[in-house]
């Protein structure tokens, strides 16, 4: 059982480091995190990667709920919280306690932004996630809604998904328009969160390389005092390679 003293409000006591990225779909945050991981691993750090909505425990339920469109903003929110809890317990806390680096693609701030944009009480969502570990570094990739939409529609993910586009909220009959309205609301929420939790804002309209250089500079500063603990095996586990080969949702 984890000590209940650890909350989102204060720095965690563990020897490892937690680095997370946030941003709306199409902000390029996953690309940046992947590049950061490559760099960290080339430096000899062992990294554990975890992404939003990926625990075995609720994946099937979320899929079914989305398919039958049975999810309300409240159940949508709670399912994601369950998913997060399970990943925190099984994937994030053990490496952090062991003194390793954990990289998370989206963190609790995603829930704060999305759920509030769906009309859920912002103070309630924050209380629900209060058991989360506070990240050591949190990057927010800020991008105007037009740029994000162009990237998504122009790229391989031309199909906007029902919940991603906020179609459950009857904002517009048109999927693209609904996406625009919903993601704009999320952007507004992110702006509040950035100041509330002190996220590091990155200009996500810049070149990928420039953003990455800036990110690496900030991370190496933050890791100056960090002493990595490493196991006997210096190599990455095969699992991480396989993960990156799969097409990922942002």
């Amino acid at each position: 059982m984890t000590s209940s003293v650890v909350t989102l409000g204060q720095p965690h006591p563990y020897p490892g480091k937690l680095i997370i990225v946030e941003g709306i779909d199409g902000s390029g945050k996953s690309t940046q995190l992947l590049l950061l991981q490559k760099w960290l691993e080339s430096k000899g750090f062992k990294c554990f990667f975890t992404e939003w909505n990926s625990s075995e425990l609720v994946r099937e339920t979320t899929r079914r709920g989305k398919k039958t469109k049975a999810l309300t903003p409240t159940t949508f929110s709670l399912l994601h919280a369950t998913d997060f809890a399970s990943r925190l317990y099984h994937n994030i806390l053990p490496p952090l306690k062991a003194g390793m680096l954990v990289l998370a693609d989206r963190y609790v701030y995603t829930a704060f932004a999305r759920d509030a944009a769906r009309g859920v009480s912002p103070s309630w969502v924050r209380k629900v996630y209060n058991f989360a570990v506070r990240p050591d570094m949190a990057f927010y990739f800020k991008v105007p809604i037009e740029v994000a939409t162009d990237r998504l529609l122009g790229g391989t993910r031309a199909q906007l998904k029902y919940y991603e586009a906020g179609m459950d909220m009857n904002l517009s009959q048109d999927v693209t328009e609904s996406f625009r309205i919903f993601q704009s609301r999320i952007l507004d929420e992110y702006d509040k969160i950035v100041s509330e939790y002190g996220l590091i804002t990155m200009d996500a309209t810049q070149e990928i390389e420039d953003q990455q250089n800036e990110m690496r500079r900030l991370v190496s500063q933050a890791l100056e005092q960090y002493r990595p603990t490493r196991g006997t095996y210096g190599r990455r586990t095969a699992l991480f390679w396989r993960r990156f080969d799969e097409p990922k949702a942002e």
Partner: protein
């Protein structure tokens, strides 16, 4: 608790509480205390009087019942996930069953309510705030009847009926050497927590060691005044003195 309906904490933002004119009655109590048997009898009693009744059961939502079953089969549940699974199940039933029924003026009989989640989480974490915040969106019931039993009587009763299972014995907590020891420690702590909440939330206590027909009679006496405070829609008043006899001798979990 008469007067306006309210949320336990941070509520649902898009719901008008004044529209919910039905009655929400929760029956609480630990595992194997006979809740479901009594709820069946209460439903019958209320329907005979002309009240529309729906019942709603813990972990019985369309969305979550399967998930929770599967999750409990594997050893992959941590404290937060378990509580959040309960919360998701409850939210689904609240929005899809309880609220629509209350809006249409039904009496909703809830087999367990948020207090079950509170007790189970507190026993696992020793901390009360978080779980209460999580269930902030829950409606405060019009009445909570707590079927109270001591752990020794409970242990005998459960062995005689369904037997002890892994989760009802709190085996995930490693409290005792075997199922029986663990059951007594776990259920003992749950009962202790329910007793504390009785003070805090004003439960109506019903002694669950009494014979079933006496328990039923006490439950009806507690429920009756709550119904009278709203509109009367009885077709033909039934005499209260004639309790419906249970078809099963001993209430099962």
């Amino acid at each position: 608790m008469a007067g306006g309906r309210r949320y336990f904490g941070d509520g649902l933002t898009n719901l008008k509480l004044s529209d919910l004119k039905g009655k929400l009655i929760a029956i609480e109590g630990t595992d194997g205390v006979g809740r479901s048997t009594h709820i069946e009898m209460l439903q019958e009693w209320l329907e005979v009087q002309g009240y529309g009744v729906i019942t709603t059961g813990w972990t019985r939502s369309n969305l979550m019942s399967k998930t929770i079953e599967v999750a409990k089969q594997g050893n992959i549940l941590d404290r937060w996930s378990l509580s959040l699974l309960y919360a998701t199940d409850f939210a689904d039933r609240l929005e899809h069953q309880i609220v629509p029924a209350l809006r249409s003026g039904f009496v909703v009989l809830a087999d367990r309510y948020i207090y079950t989640a509170f007790a189970r989480d507190v026993v696992r974490s020793g901390e009360r705030n978080w779980i209460r915040n999580v269930f902030g969106f829950a409606l405060v019931p019009d009445l909570v009847c707590y079927l109270r039993i001591d752990v020794d009587t409970l242990a005998l009763r459960v062995i005689e009926t369904n037997g002890m299972n892994y989760w009802e014995s709190g085996m995930d907590l490693r409290l005792g050497a075997d199922l029986y020891d663990s059951f007594k420690k776990y259920q003992g702590s749950l009962i202790e927590e329910f007793d504390k909440m009785t003070e805090e939330f004003g439960f109506e206590v019903v002694d669950a060691r009494k014979p079933p027909d006496e328990i039923q009679e006490m439950l009806r006496a507690k429920i009756e005044p709550n119904l009278k405070s709203t509109r009367k829609q009885r077709r033909s008043p039934e005499p209260r003195t004639e309790p419906i006899k249970p078809t099963v001798e001993e209430p099962a979990g």
